[in-house]
């Protein structure tokens, strides 16, 4: 597929990035003067970007369009231009980011209405949108990397938005550091590409990746995967994502559910030509996806914090997407479709959770909720639709896209395919369980509210985006899979869709998944819905529950394997540096001083001793002269 130079509106697609970036700059530099209208400006830039993105997409017509801007860095044989690549794949992401982004901006106007720092919140959100758009629009890996770290920064700033809370500050730092670990992988992959191929642009790399040795390609693939794992909260770098829920809820919805955390999926899908060359790396992607989707689903079952349940659900759902893109050509489109529908329903769920928290004085413990359905009808209905979409209720979004992934897994045809498909179906059951548990604990049963809480429905500025996202959750799957197949839209990128030979008939998969889903729902009802939920979490629980509550000990492992030894090492090295390296220098100085004062002792002041040393010296000189003349 040849890239063509930009024309028409697409030539102005740099405005997509520039608009929110300018918004962020104005809001940050403008100071308090912009307090009154800052949120409107912030929202406006993203809405404008969405409209522009939509128009560009309509003009795209299946082409890959290049927009050259300026030379970022050029020295020696390295040439990194700042350029954008507008193709069907990035167009899909642009619409998701600006579309969901715009809705969440609108929601935030209401959600953050009473926060004195609302203007700064919108500035950071705008910064995020700009960086995320750069990530998906860049036409080379360096531009992607810049956006990649840019969204990391925005994520850091937004998680730590309420930085007076130590938990928020720590969570932000944790997120940034774990992301950086992934970034090292991405950076090394870029270095390797440059060293081996002499270029970092998508065109150049994909064009010549076939000439590389298999080991090198695998290394690049695994390093890219490390980067993707960091950003997308995949095993083994998944522990930061649930902690990131310390940020304001709109942030969780936009960054930590709908867009940023799916950047890893984008990276792997974008790098498809690389992974096509390396089955090994692709298998690792599969493994990562399968492990993560189970970890996330298991941990989600035991959380009491409503946002943490959703966070682990996100981890698990992104695991599905990794699984899909790890399957290769048969899975790319399924994974991306799930990414899009997930963007809708998970963002909607988070916004709903935010609405609930708004009503409950920022309480997040589901054990203190209960019986909210009659008090918050809009929230209940929209949240409920999102819930149904997520668990894969027939003919809602999740049903289409999750089924597609599971089908693709079975279509591998080998034993691994069955294993992966089985894992995915099992996780679908777990998903149904934990989401039903969440619904029951929040909206049904007797109220277990803290005293003085008076639940009320959120203002329209918050409910409207929820309604829109709920509509998306219902229809997006049908639209993307049946009505306007994503497969055809993405054909210029991934090739024409091939009719897969189904190992297991799709209808069988659908029935199976639905059955497992129903079992999950019923189990949840048996455990949670039938009886009273205690206001405090039970202490005496099975080891399985305990492990799930602590997310299979991911934090404990990180702490004991990395954090503690790291702290110990730093402290030990400080000692070594002060006592060892500096001590050696100071010791040298001290020993010089000491020996000089000791030598000074020989100057006793007694003339006779000086005379004796003179005599000794004279004898030595005479002896030496004799020795020389005699010898």
């Amino acid at each position: 597929m040849e890239t063509v130079p930009a024309d028409g509106l697409i030539a102005a697609s740099w405005l997509l990035i520039a608009l929110p970036l300018a918004g962020a700059a104005v809001l940050l530099l403008g100071g308090r003067r912009t307090d009154r209208w800052g949120h409107l400006l912030g929202t406006g830039t993203v809405v404008a970007a969405f409209v522009l993105g939509l128009l560009c997409t309509l003009q795209l017509d299946g082409r890959q369009v290049e927009v050259g801007l300026y030379t970022f860095v050029a020295t020696g044989s390295l040439d990194v231009p700042v350029g954008l690549l507008f193709d069907p794949l990035s167009a899909v992401f642009v619409l998701l980011i600006t579309g969901v982004g715009a809705l969440i901006h609108v929601y935030s106007i209401g959600y953050m209405a009473h926060d004195p720092r609302r203007r700064r919140f919108f500035a950071y959100l705008n910064l995020f949108v700009a960086a995320m758009l750069l990530l998906v629009l860049g036409d080379n890996y360096v531009a992607l990397y810049v956006g990649w770290e840019g969204v990391g920064l925005a994520s850091y700033l937004l998680i730590a938005f309420w930085h007076e809370r130590p938990a928020a500050a720590t969570a932000a730092k944790k997120a940034f550091i774990m992301n950086r670990v992934g970034d090292v992988g991405l950076a090394l992959a870029i270095f390797l590409m440059f060293a081996q191929l002499g270029t970092v642009s998508y065109d150049g790399v994909f064009g010549s990746v076939g000439t590389l040795a298999a080991g090198t390609v695998t290394a690049i693939g695994l390093l890219l995967l490390l980067g993707a794992c960091g950003k997308s909260g995949q095993f083994p770098l998944q522990a930061w994502l649930p902690d990131a829920m310390e940020g304001p809820t709109p942030v969780s919805a936009l960054i930590h559910a709908a867009t940023m955390v799916t950047a890893g999926v984008y990276l792997i899908a974008r790098s498809a030509p690389i992974y096509d060359e390396t089955p090994t790396a692709r298998a690792v992607v599969l493994a990562v996806g399968a492990i993560t989707l189970l970890i996330g689903a298991i941990a989600g079952c035991a959380q009491d914090d409503i946002k943490k349940v959703l966070a682990y659900s996100t981890v698990s759902q992104i695991g599905y997407m990794f699984l899909a893109v790890g399957l290769g050509p048969i899975g790319y489109v399924a994974g991306l479709a799930h990414l899009l529908t997930h963007g809708f329903f998970k963002a909607g769920l988070f916004l709903g959770a935010g609405s609930v928290m708004h009503a409950m004085n920022d309480q997040v413990d589901m054990r203190r909720f209960g019986g909210l359905a009659p008090h918050m009808k809009v929230t209940f209905v929209t949240f409920g639709l999102g819930y149904l979409a997520l668990i894969g209720f027939p003919f809602l979004s999740g049903f289409y896209t999750k089924d597609a992934i599971i089908e693709a897994a079975f279509d591998r045809g080998d034993g691994w395919g069955y294993l992966l498909g089985g894992v995915a179906i099992l996780a679908a059951g777990l998903t149904a369980f934990y989401m039903t548990r969440l619904m029951l604990m929040t909206f049904f049963g007797r109220p277990r509210w803290e005293p003085g809480v008076h639940p009320h429905e959120s203002p329209p500025v918050m409910t409207a985006p929820m309604v829109l996202l709920a509509v998306g959750s219902v229809f997006a799957g049908f639209l993307l899979v049946v009505a306007f197949p994503l497969e055809e839209w993405l054909a210029p990128v991934f090739g024409e869709p091939v009719e897969a030979e189904h190992v297991v008939a799709p209808i069988v998969v659908s029935v199976l998944v639905t059955a497992v889903m129903v079992i999950g729902v019923l189990t949840a009802w048996l455990f949670v819905g039938r009886r009273e939920v205690p206001a405090a979490a039970p202490v005496r629980v099975s080891p399985v529950t305990r492990a799930a509550r602590r997310a299979l000990y991911a934090d404990a492992v990180n702490e004991s394997l990395l954090m503690r030894p790291g702290q110990w090492l730093a402290r030990a090295l400080v000692f070594v540096d002060n006592r060892g390296v500096d001590g050696a220098v100071n010791g040298l100085a001290a020993s010089l001083g000491g020996s000089s004062s000791r030598l000074g002792r020989t100057q006793t002041g007694f003339v006779r001793s000086y005379a004796l040393s003179m005599l000794g010296g004279a004898v030595v000189v005479a002896g030496a002269l004799l020795a020389v003349t005699a010898g």
């Binding site: 940050l28 300026y70 030379t71 970022f72 860095v73 050029a74 020295t75 020696g76 044989s77 390295l78 700064r120 360096v142 990397y145 810049v146 990649w148 770290e149 840019g150 920064l153 850091y156 730590a160 930085h163 007076e164 809370r165 130590p166 928020a168 500050a169 720590t170 932000a172 730092k173 940034f176 550091i177 950086r180 670990v181 970034d183 090292v184 950076a187 090394l188 870029i190 270095f191 390797l192 440059f194 060293a195 081996q196 002499g198 790291g566 702290q567 090492l569 730093a570 402290r571 090295l573 400080v574 540096d577 390296v581 500096d582 220098v585 100085a589």
Partner: protein, 550 residues
Amino acid sequence: MSTFPYLLAMIVVPAVGAAVVAALPKGRDELAKQLSLGVSLLVLVLAVLATVAFDAGGERFQLTTSVAWIPDFGVDFALGVDGIALVMLLLIGVLVPVVVLASWRDEPPGRRSMQAFFAWLLLLESLMVGVFAATDVFLFYVFFEAMLVPMYFIIGSFGGPRRQYAAVKFFLYSLVGGLVMLAAVIGLYVVSASELGEGTFAFDALRQIEIDPGVQKLLFLGFFIAFAIKAPLVPFHTWLPDSGAEAPIGGSVLLVGVLDKVGTFGFLRYCLPLFPDASRDLAPYVLVLAVAGVLYAALLAMGQSDMKRLVSYTSIAHFGFIALGIFAFTTEAGTGAVLYMVNHGIATGLLFLVVGMLIARGGSRQVGDYGGVARQAPLLAGVFLVAGLASLALPGTNSFVSEFLVLIGSFPTRPVFTVLATVGIVLAALYVLLLYQRTMHGPPRGVLLEGGIHGGDPYDDVPPARGGASAATATVTAPAPPAVPRLRVRDLSRRETAVAAPMVALVIALGVYPQPLIELIEPAVAATMSEFELDPDGDGVVPADTEGTD
């Protein structure tokens, strides 16, 4: 080519300024400050004009001035700049006015006058320009050693509590390096005398002669040790945390921002071109030191409780990156290293400045004495964050470009070292964010609660916040967040904003559009590296010149 002697003017103007400031009658501090600011701004203008007059595509050394100085020994007072030296002059031009402005309200310890401080500062500027502009090895040596004197007094007279110790340590370390280098300089002269028939110190002439490999190694070591102490590389680094911590903030900025760059500048200007064989042979050892520095200093930075020491250690880690870039022998990495020298001066300079602003408010250098500053001083916190992010080389800040260039340029020839150094970027994130979180985030802590030391200007003179003293004591006994801070930390004053704004602007501007600087630097680096651009062991590495032949 312009006939105006820009370089000479950039040396003479601040020197004269220093003399005038020193000669002012006592008690004219304000006039001294204004005069210093004026002089340093004039130097900045000269530096900019020199850059305009410089032709990036032209000869290696431009704007040359040469006067015979000691003809008997072939010593000339010869000045000239290539792109590498020119960007360093620009950095000096930018940093000195900022430092003058940042030191405006400093209270010198004892009964010393700030007049002397500014006089030393201007003298230092003059000598720093000289060190980068000299094209005669002997002249370079003279400036190299002379630079110690003003810095010694800046640290020893105007520094913190342990300033005497730090100043002596700084002086002794540098002197030892300098003497070793003197021996090598004389050795170079002797070699040139035997090779050319007539001894010379002129850089261009020395570059042409072929030196016996064994001799090369010795001379290389002579220069290298001096520069490794100056830069500093691990294990010659322990003077820097002491000096950086005890020096007044302005001194720290210039020390780390410019003075130490003489070391890395020396690697590139003297070690590589004069002793190519020795450089090639000894490069692996240098790289071990460089990469060890990146990791070791980063871990040490994490373990520091003194903010200024912490920043000093981060600099040592950054110097490791620069050395890696230089000794990787590729144009990309070398250009990155030079760019790193500039960017580090700006980024770490800004970090030192903002840490200084914080210290001026709290009266303590300990990280543990601060907490929750962001709430009360968002602008200060914002600048702190920008400086920190630049220090951890986030894309969009200037340091990213240089760090990226160093790493991507070093990878083809030195993959193992590069991978190890890349791990350093995680550590960088750790030490920066730990510092930021502990001081800026969380509930108010330390000096914000208990009173701290009043430093005049920085504090709000409004009496204790709502609730008065009783509330403050209550918060101490019962730490119920959010505690009511007893002291309000004032946000950046107008002067401090004027200090930070140009630096922040440079951080962003050079992060987004670095190409003009790169174009200035690249020809000189390419000329230096052209001797080395060959595939050392043929381990599948693509030599850089296969594509750049056009």
